[in-house]
């Protein structure tokens, strides 16, 4: 009899609760020794029913609801929503308000990228970088607080404009913070491109070619680090981006180092943009008039969040509440690249590659995962749904 060789499959569950993940998500990593042979992702642990909730709130309240999709990039969610609603309502936003929207968006990008740098350092076991970049990020948090009154979920937008204005004192404070951060960013860029141990964890790791990035539908800095020059701010300028054009930062190498470098170089672009905006602030009102009811119609709104393209679909039935809102966050677009890229890498590289896309699990959880194994009826009764839920969350399937 022939000896049967069975390769034992050793799976390591990462998540839903795991120190590498700051939010719930689940990765089943199959390894042979330390080499990953398969990775399966399961999302949906932080599904909050925001889209459904939006249908029972009026247009104004919804802005604050959508801001809470993401704690890090709340402003960009509100911007995407406001742009869409204003287009439906045919409201003209004053130029000064549009510029301030861009200003806050770029400040938000700075704080998001610095935060990400810290997370990447932490995943690489380089906690010093984590501590330092998060300390420096406080400068931008202070500026945002001075500008809008909040450190997170700043609600700078209102339908028809913005709620905050920039005066001279604030302008100086922002410029000062940007000066400090620019110096620090030069230092960080030097660290991440010269520190031998950090480079060992990033150079040549998780390489995504340009064609892979296009096929997998990667967006944002993840795609730009693979040489895909794609940025909504350039392709379809919204708000004031047509008067303040952005230079796309692209790196063709496609590895983790490229993803770090692209984000660091984007920071310089943010600093330049913030300075330019503060030098050329148009005068005038910061809010326009906004009707309570929005005319019937549907529209699509695309913006560039710090993590990539953020997509909103809005449908109005002419009342003061939306009929349907659909949100697609950049993380869901980039997630497929993670499960593809980790195969063949060391287990130790998995958190790094995952962090490389700057994932935001709670943001992307939009849909409920319905029965994958058995048949999936079109309509579920309450009893069926309940049984399904008990079955799924009880732990092990029999």
């Amino acid at each position: 009899m022939e000896p049967r060789i069975e390769v034992e499959r050793f799976t390591i569950p990462m998540g839903p609760q795991h120190p590498a993940l700051k939010e719930p998500g689940r990765f089943r990593i199959t390894v042979e020794g330390e080499i990953v042979t398969q990775a399966v992702v399961r999302l949906g642990y932080a599904h909050r029913g925001i889209e459904k909730a939006a249908e029972s709130r009026n247009w104004i309240r919804n802005q604050y609801l959508f801001e809470r999709i993401c704690g890090i990039c709340s402003h960009i969610h509100a911007t995407a929503y406001c742009l869409g609603v204003e287009r439906l309502a045919g409201v003209e936003v004053p130029p000064r308000a549009q510029v301030i929207r861009v200003l806050v968006a770029e400040l938000e990008r700075i704080h998001s990228h610095l935060l990400w740098l810290g997370v990447a350092g932490h995943e690489a076991g380089f906690d010093t970088l984590f501590m330092y970049s998060w300390r420096d990020r406080e400068a931008i948090m202070d500026v945002l607080e001075a500008l809008t009154g909040n450190r997170v979920n700043y609600s700078a937008n209102v339908l028809g404009g913005v709620k905050c204005d920039v005066d001279d004192a604030l302008r100086d404070a922002i410029l000062k913070a940007v000066d400090v951060l620019e110096k620090r960013t030069h230092h960080y860029l030097k660290v991440v491109t010269t520190d031998a141990l950090f480079l060992q964890r990033t150079r040549g790791i998780g390489v995504m070619t340009r064609s892979q990035a296009e096929v997998l539908g990667a967006v944002g800095p993840t795609a730009r680090a693979s040489g895909v020059a794609r940025d909504v701010r350039v392709e379809a300028p919204y708000a004031a981006y047509s008067s303040f054009p952005v230079q796309i930062v692209v790196d063709a190498r496609g590895d983790l180092e490229a993803r770090v470098v692209v984000r660091m170089r984007e920071l310089f672009e943010c600093y330049r943009l913030v300075r330019e905006i503060l030098d050329h602030l148009p005068t005038g009102e910061v809010r326009g008039r906004m009707p309570r009811r929005v005319p019937e119609g549907e529209t699509v709104s695309r913006v560039e969040a710090p993590r990539g393209e953020l997509f909103y679909f809005l449908k109005s039935n002419g009342s003061d509440t939306p009929e349907r809102v659909r949100v697609r966050t950049p993380t869901i677009c980039n997630m497929t690249s993670v499960v593809r890229l980790v195969v063949g890498h060391q287990l130790a590289d998995v958190p790094m590659i995952l962090a490389g896309i700057d994932p935001c699990f709670s943001c992307n959880d939009r849909v409920i995962d319905v029965d994958r194994v058995g048949r999936s009826p079109e309509q579920w009764t309450w009893e069926q749904l309940r049984a399904h839920g008990v079955d799924t969350y009880h732990g092990h399937r029999p």
Binding site: F10, T11, I12, P13, H18, P19, A20, V31, E34, G121, H122, E123, A124, G125, F126, D127, T128, L129, M131, Y132, R135, D195, L197, F198, Q200, R201, Q346, L347, A348, D349, V350, P351
Partner: protein
């Protein structure tokens, strides 16, 4: 009289209570220094002690699928081995309590028993994180152990004896860091590997495998293992300081030199990113071992020339 003396050495000084207190103090210094380097405030002075008290008072959960005796016994064996090693080391600048020819090997072996116990403790459970952690712990053990031992044998060669007390006596008149700089560097980095400090913390890399081999441990077992680690740190620092930094003749010298060494170790922890386990193995076998052999060759050649 002999019994009293032995009992004193085992329970109070140098092993036992003194060493446990010293290990907690050194753990605090290490954590505080690292925190300061990272622009944090760091723990208060009694935090390591409070941690141990808290862990000791907690329920020890024995998970399903483990050998109960091993699970409960391994932390005790590990800590006992580390404490025993202290008897042969010139702690606090005083002569070792016990000493015989070749006790250097025994002391280093006893320190490795602790790591071995942690590896076994990890592979004893059925948890995935523990198993991967245990594999990494043992892999790391095999990679740093040889270069570390060889580096410490450099002073032994120079002194012409493998007895710790004699080597440290010899080292008082010879700053061996000057004549054996490579050995010193390998010994310090080897010590960091032994203690699984960053950048050699792949066996307990929290972002990958939670707490590594000790993931299933809580309560007393975890407290004992942590104490063992602290004890290992004090003994390791003492050995390196006594061998390479001109000996530790008095308690003051001991304090200054070991704390100075700890400052270097904490600084290295702060500036280095974690190595993957394959990179760790590569580093030790490709560079560490080779460098130590070069050092050995130099020592032997120089001795020949001098004779």
């Amino acid at each position: 009289m002999d019994t009293v003396r032995n009992l004193f050495a085992l329970v109070l000084f140098p092993s036992g209570l003194f060493l446990l207190a010293a290990s907690l103090a050194y753990e605090w210094v290490d954590r505080k220094l690292l925190a300061q380097f990272q622009n944090r405030i760091g723990p208060r002075w009694f935090q390591p002690f409070a941690d141990v008290v808290k862990l000791l008072s907690k329920e020890e959960v024995v998970p399903r699928g483990v050998d109960r005796t091993l699970f409960l016994g391994l932390p005790i064996v590990g800590l006992a081995a580390a404490l025993t090693a202290a008897l042969y080391v010139p702690l606090a600048g005083l002569a070792p309590s016990f000493s015989f020819s070749g006790d250097l090997i025994v002391a280093i072996y006893l320190l490795s028993v602790l790591t071995l116990c942690m590896g076994l403790a990890g592979s004893n459970t059925i948890g995935r994180f523990s198993l991967v952690g245990a594999t990494r712990t043992l892999t790391q053990l095999f990679s740093y152990e040889a270069p570390f031992l060889l580096a410490l044998l450099g002073p032994a060669l120079a002194a012409g004896t493998w007895r710790i007390s004699d080597i440290s006596l010899y080292a008082r008149d010879h700053w061996l860091i000057l004549t054996q700089p490579i050995g010193f560097i390998v010994a310090v980095i080897g010590l960091m590997g032994k203690l699984e400090l960053p950048p050699f913390d792949a066996p307990e890399a929290e972002t990958e495998i939670v707490a590594g081999a000790l993931t299933e441990y809580s309560g007393r077992g975890l407290a004992l293992f942590r104490l063992g680690k602290g004890v290992e740190m004090v003994i390791g620092l003492t050995l390196v300081a006594a061998f390479f930094l001109g000996g530790v003749a008095t308690p003051l010298l001991f304090l200054v030199k070991t704390l100075g060494l700890l400052l270097v170790v904490a600084g290295l922890q702060a500036v280095l990113a974690r190595l993957r386990i394959d990179q760790t193995v590569g580093l030790w076998w490709r560079y560490g071992t080779l460098l130590v052999f070069v050092q050995w060759l130099l020592i032997v050649l120089l001795r020949e020339v001098r004779l």
